[in-house]
Structures are given as structure tokens and as C-alpha cells.
């Protein structure tokens, strides 16, 4: 009879304790997010630079235009902005560009002379979204350039590795 009570107690414990622990089931699903590389840049402004004066005895005075801005977003690291022009400048005329550092990320290369080859203007840009870095253009000419008619250049900015 003692054995019977023991076995009955075991069955009761199985019913009360073991049962609820096994009364469960699990199923699952995956939740994924594909964060793709984002490297976006846009430029606003149509700067107008006109050299028209000089200090007597010196080369023509440099002119500056800071009316342009660029907007940059990248989720990458150590990116750079390069700039180039579509057509070479006339002889003895130099066009320079200076792009401000976006939101404190990166290093400005200062005044960079624009050519038809891409040149770095800001380097070391990481994880930034800034819609307002200023772009400053400077136009220089020597007296050897002579008198030139109005001309245009397209400046292309690229955000890349």
C-alpha cells in the first residue's frame, strides 16, 4: 500500500507540475533590415564672378562668391567630396573652390584649384547629414589674361570613397 501511495503521489505531481511546463509551443519569424550605402550630395546656387578692378601696380583683384551651399548625407565612413569643371579655364585665369566641413565631420582642403580632373575638397567625412555647408568660389586672373568675354563653367561635386 505504501508503494501504491508513492506512485499515486508521483502521478499527481506529474499532472500538477510537469504538465503545464510541457503545455507550451514555440514558433518564430525573422525580422531583417537591409541598410544600404547612402552617399547623396546636391548643390544649390549659381555664383557669378566678375573681375573688373585692380589696385594700381598689382594684378587684377580677386573676386569671391559664397552664395552657394551643398547638402550631404552619408551613412558611410571616410568619404570625400571631389570637384571638377567641365572645361579648362582660359590661360592665366584660375577658379578655386573651398567647401566648408559638413557638421564637423571631415577636413576641408581649403582653396582648391578647379581643373577638369576631380580634386578632393573635403576628406574624412563619416556619418553625416548636413544641408548647409557653404561653397566659396574665388576667381583670379593676371594681366596676361587680357580682356575676356563672359563665359560659364559647370562644377561637378562627387561624394565617394
Amino acid at each position: 500500500m505504501k508503494t501504491f501511495k508513492f506512485l499515486l503521489l508521483g502521478a499527481a505531481l506529474a499532472l500538477l507540475l510537469t504538465g503545464p511546463a510541457l503545455g507550451a509551443d514555440v514558433s518564430s519569424h525573422v525580422m531583417s533590415f537591409d541598410f544600404q550605402q547612402i552617399n547623396e550630395i546636391s548643390v544649390t546656387g549659381t555664383p557669378n564672378l566678375n573681375i573688373s578692378s585692380a589696385v594700381a601696380g598689382q594684378e587684377p583683384s580677386e573676386v569671391t562668391d559664397s552664395s552657394s551651399t551643398c547638402a550631404i548625407t552619408t551613412n558611410g565612413a571616410n568619404k570625400r567630396i571631389t570637384a571638377n569643371i567641365d572645361t579648362a579655364m582660359p590661360a592665366d585665369v584660375t577658379l578655386k573652390v573651398n567647401v566648408a566641413v559638413p557638421s564637423g565631420s571631415g577636413t576641408s582642403q581649403g582653396d582648391v584649384t578647379l581643373t577638369t580632373s576631380a580634386s578632393s575638397v573635403v576628406t574624412g567625412i563619416s556619418h553625416v547629414a548636413d544641408s548647409n555647408p557653404t561653397i566659396t568660389y574665388k576667381l583670379n586672373a593676371t594681366v596676361q589674361a587680357g580682356v575676356l568675354s563672359t563665359d560659364t563653367r559647370t562644377v561637378t561635386f562627387t561624394l565617394s570613397d
Partner: protein
Amino acid sequence: MRFSIRIFIIFLLVPLFFAAQTAHAAISITVTGSWVETIDKNDLISGAGSDLENTYTSVSGQISIDISGTSGPSDAWRIDIKKIDSIWNNSFHPYVMRTSAGTGGSVSGGASYQEVTDINAQFFSGSGDVTGINVQLRITGASIQINPDYYSTVLYYTVVDI
């Protein structure tokens, strides 16, 4: 006690032992669906110069849950939920919300967004067999500070017979 009686009792109690277990073990949960969200330049708030949208939400019935194997309409159960990360970023906060009651049985709770963590927490409860309980998913914490990568976590739904 005679040996034959002992054998008789053992044969009587062993089936009772297993019957007690199977009565509780029969409840089952089936989760159907998954959510893969691609986040790219089209998710910038206002193009170049702006950050990514912070929050992304799936469609209402992204996930469907079926509960079966209950002993009847009054057999109560609850759903617990947790996540186990694969590649993850601690800036992300995943949420779940029940958006329908499904068909059959009854369901209550879980009708507002609840964050899913690494620790099991009750999501909603109900009773009886129910099919087609819809769940909507949400994630917050996206920004351009997150490195480009394929992030993934697995959400585990546990049905507990109560």
C-alpha cells in the same frame, strides 16, 4: 502487496502519467510570415542633407498566428514574445502589435505597440483554437549613424497553456 497487484497498479498509473502530460502538451502555435525592410536613399526625410526616417512600420497583417490543439473554447493560453539577435544594433527598438483577433476562440490584449526585448514578456492572451491573428511590426532607431549592413533578429512566440 503481492507482485501481481503492483504490476497492475504500475500499468494503471503509467498511462495516467503520460495522459496528464499530453493533455497539456497538445497546444500548438504556428507563426507565418517574416519582414525584410530595405532602407536606402529613398528613405531620407528630404533627400541629400537630411537624415533617415527614424521609424519603419510593416503592413497590418505582416505576421499571422494560429493557435491549435486546445482542449476547447475555454482552454486559456497566453503568448509570450522575445527576440534573439543575429546581427543587430542596439539603437534599434522592435515593436509588435496585434491588429486582428483572428477566427474562432477569443483573444485579448496586445492591441498597442509593445517593445520586444531579449526577455520573454506577455504579448496577448486568449482561449480556444484561433487562426489568422494578425500582427504588425515596427522598428525605431534608424539613422545615418547606423553602418550599412544586413541586420537581423528572430522573434520567438511562445504559447503557454494556462
